[in-house]
């Protein structure tokens, strides 16, 4: 049991720290400005090309087959440097790795991992949120293609995406969980319209909605077998719930460090309650860092995914919203200025208890699958 770096890990950390010294793009906090989202693609490619992204994935898809704990080092060093977090797409990689054929994996994964091709995830619909399996987007076979009609929403990065990992109904007569299949759909085509959504903190570059009206996708782009869509979706969302996959540890620590710097500069400006909120944010951000150390160490035993992801998601939400409350408290000390960065960090944090499965759904999963409580 050792939290310390091995010699190889220490060497990796030194190289990363040196690289960040010269290559930190200095983007704003991810959640507060469209400038961040515009700069995210070059940041992804730079991080990958320097050898600091996709560390734990197979070499055949562009990874480095390092133990997952190296991602902890990346998160810690990104936070220390005040650099943007690593891109959040490990859950897509896990879904395609587990369910895709060799051909699908070879065609699609290297481009996701190295950042040359951008992806979005077409799961939720206006009438299928928590009840995802009731989705109605239809993919109907037509020769060696499928034709797609439907409406997806809460689609992150849809404006910049080259591909959409689409969950659609291919067998309307099957029970609702069994009639779904997954596809890699090319986004630039006449049958797809992308509309940005403006979130409560004003950003427009993260979320969108996507309308499919006769969009076409080759049958060879199906990921997994027909009817395997629900299983793939569960793989994706169970990994989407793990903070170790998302790299949010760095994002929270970066905000906490900046808030602490504000208080250190003008200690007399803040009251006890405001400073107390900051202290909780420090505790929560550190809790999440250490929790990720534990969960990524578990992967050395081959343990990942599973219902514990719901525990991770709830802890991640707790951390993000504590950081958000600290940002709000300290912003409140300086109201009247034009900089609404901290207000926007707070507002963005409200989405964390909804996206990737609401906190209420996560609690249902913990109660049933972890605690073994009887179903109602």
């Amino acid at each position: 049991m050792d939290f310390a770096d091995s010699p190889a890990e220490a060497d990796f950390r030194r190289r990363l720290r040196g690289w960040l010294h010269d290559n930190n793009p200095g983007l704003p906090a991810s959640s507060t400005s469209d400038e961040y989202w515009a700069g995210q693609a070059p940041w992804h490619r730079a991080l990958y090309d320097a050898g600091f992204f996709g560390l734990s994935w197979p070499k055949e898809v562009g990874g480095r087959e390092l133990p997952a704990v190296y991602d902890v080092i990346v998160d810690e060093e990104l936070a220390r440097a005040g650099a943007p977090p690593r891109p959040s797409l490990g859950y897509l990689v896990q879904g395609i790795l587990r369910h895709g054929s060799d051909d699908v994996r070879r065609r699609f994964l290297p481009g996701i991992v190295d950042g040359r091709e951008r992806w979005c995830q077409g799961f939720s619909e206006p009438d299928a949120g928590s009840d995802l399996a009731s989705l109605t987007t239809r993919a109907a076979p037509a020769g060696d293609e499928y034709v797609v009609h439907g409406h997806k929403v809460w689609t992150s990065y849809s404006d910049a995406a080259d591909w959409c990992l689409l969950l659609a109904r291919t067998d309307p007569d099957a029970p609702k969980h069994r009639g779904l299949s997954a596809f890699a759909v090319p986004m630039p085509q006449p049958g797809i319209e992308q509309r940005p959504l403006r979130m409560i903190n004003g950003i427009t570059k993260e979320f969108g909605e996507v309308l499919f009206d006769g969009a076409r996708v080759p049958a060879a782009n199906m990921i997994g077998e027909p009817g395997e869509g629900w299983a793939l979706a569960m793989t994706v969302v169970s990994h989407e719930r793990e903070p170790g996959e998302l790299g949010y540890v760095a994002r929270y620590a970066k905000v906490v460090n900046e808030l602490a710097g504000t208080v250190r500069e003008e200690p007399g400006r803040f009251g006890t309650e405001q400073v107390r909120d900051l202290a909780w944010a420090m505790v929560e951000a550190e809790m999440l860092r250490l929790h990720v150390c534990r969960r990524l160490s578990d992967r050395l035993d081959g343990r990942s995914g599973g219902p514990e992801g719901s525990v991770d998601k709830l802890l991640m939400t707790e951390a993000e919203q504590a950081v958000g409350h600290a940002a709000l408290a300290l912003d409140g000390a300086g109201r009247g200025g034009g900089d609404d960065t901290w207000l926007n960090v707070y507002l963005y944090s409200r989405a964390q208890s909804v996206m990737g499965g609401t906190s209420q759904i996560q609690r249902n999963l913990v109660a049933g699958r972890v605690l073994g409580l009887p179903s109602s």
């Binding site: 049991m1 050792d2 939290f3 310390a4 770096d5 091995s6 890990e9 704990v69 902890v72 080092i73 602490a260 208080v263 250190r264 200690p267 006890t272 400073v275 107390r276 900051l278 202290a279 909780w280 420090m282 505790v283 929560e284 550190e286 809790m287 250490l290 929790h291 150390c293 534990r294 160490s297 578990d298 050395l300 035993d301 525990v311 709830l314 802890l315 707790e318 209420q360 996560q362 609690r363 249902n364 913990v366 109660a367 049933g368 972890v370 605690l371 073994g372 409580l373 009887p374 179903s375 109602s376």
Partner: protein
């Protein structure tokens, strides 16, 4: 980095689980079973767990790391083990840090009335209200005596028969130290400096956090078992979402606590004292808040029964309350976290 327990650490945990499952109280009435508590004490004595932090030989480090001590503490907490461990372990740590020889008789430590700091004898005597913690079968408690540049150790005798168990924690009784008790110096090779006391405090907080994690695990298990068997409206109450979410939140709080507590225990021996104390403060703030909420939830799930003396739920809560206060609860811990980040003057948090 690999924070999984080693095979040896897992074996230690398994043997602690065995002792607890065999000899710890299974019901409130068991707390009065002197034959059982004597057997439990004998099993812990035979295991050597109370000596884990004694010097391996004079002037050297402890027999085992704080992680091993925390593994034992967690299982004792999970089982509501009514046996001395924390107090004697902290006394052994003080003796080792001061270069004092181990003692053959049972000994614990005395803390200030609010338990937030070690008891300190100034002007030759102790102030009012000092408490010897986890004092079952202890004949003496260690206190600090200020010297130029640090502290020396001294011992105060405790009453032979402390009277019926009572107070906050029914499993780890405290004993008031008589006002004006005269400490008798304990010869040591070294003066305890500020870093020694930081490291000692980090160990105490780390063990308290481990005990809290175990206490939470035991309380959650108790509540889940009850929720699965108690029926209302024709169904087990554990099938109702309102009850499920209460217990799910409790489990999540315990898992977050487990992560911070593990790091705090590791930090005691692996990091410089100031860093170890900061890690311990993060853990204590988190675990203290979590444990009170979790144990309160266990009482709530039990409904009216949970508010009766004969339900074990309050024994978990009471054990947690002592661990929460030990060497500083939420407020003092948050103040320590801020100080470590260079934000002082946070006394208002206390």
């Amino acid at each position: 980095m690999d924070v999984r327990l080693s095979p040896e650490q897992r074996a230690l945990r398994d043997s602690a689980i065995q002792v607890v499952d065999r000899l710890a109280p299974a019901a409130v009435r068991d707390l009065d079973d002197a034959e059982r508590t004597a057997k439990l004490d004998a099993a812990v004595e035979a295991s050597g767990w109370r000596e884990l932090r004694s010097a391996s030989s004079p002037g050297l480090g402890p027999l085992a790391s704080a992680v091993e001590a925390a593994i034992v503490a967690e299982e004792l907490g999970r089982g509501l083990a009514d046996v001395a461990f924390l107090g004697p372990t902290l006394a052994a740590e003080l003796r080792r840090l001061a270069g004092a020889p181990p003692t053959a008789s049972r000994e614990t430590v005395a803390l200030a009335p609010d338990l937030s700091a070690p008891a300190c004898a100034t002007g030759g005597g102790l102030g009012p209200g000092a408490v010897a913690v986890d004092a079952r079968d202890s004949g003496a408690a260690l206190v600090l005596v200020p010297l130029a540049g640090g502290h020396a150790l001294a011992g105060v005798a405790l009453p032979v028969a402390p009277g019926p168990a009572g107070g906050m924690d029914l499993t780890r009784p405290g004993v008031p130290v008589a006002r004006g008790a005269t400490p008798v110096g304990v010869a040591g090779e070294r003066t305890l400096g500020p870093a020694d006391l930081q490291a000692w405090t980090a160990l105490g907080l780390g063990l308290a956090c481990a005990d809290l994690v175990g206490t939470m695990a035991g309380a959650i298990r108790l509540a889940c078992d009850y929720a699965g068997s108690r029926r209302q409206f024709g169904a087990a109450i554990g099938s109702f979402q309102a009850v499920q979410h209460l217990l799910a939140d409790a489990y999540v709080a315990m898992e977050g606590s487990r992560s911070v507590a593990l790091y705090a225990a590791w930090a005691v021996d692996a990091l410089p004292a100031a860093e170890a104390l900061a890690a311990a403060a993060v853990a204590k703030a988190y675990c203290a808040r979590a444990a009170r909420t979790v144990c309160e939830a266990a009482i709530q799930v039990h409904g009216g029964i949970g508010n009766t003396w004969d339900c074990l739920a309050h024994v978990y809560l009471r054990r947690a309350l002592l661990s929460i206060d030990l060497l500083g609860g939420v407020g003092p811990s948050l103040a320590r976290v801020l100080e470590h980040h260079g934000i002082g003057g946070s006394d208002g948090l206390r």
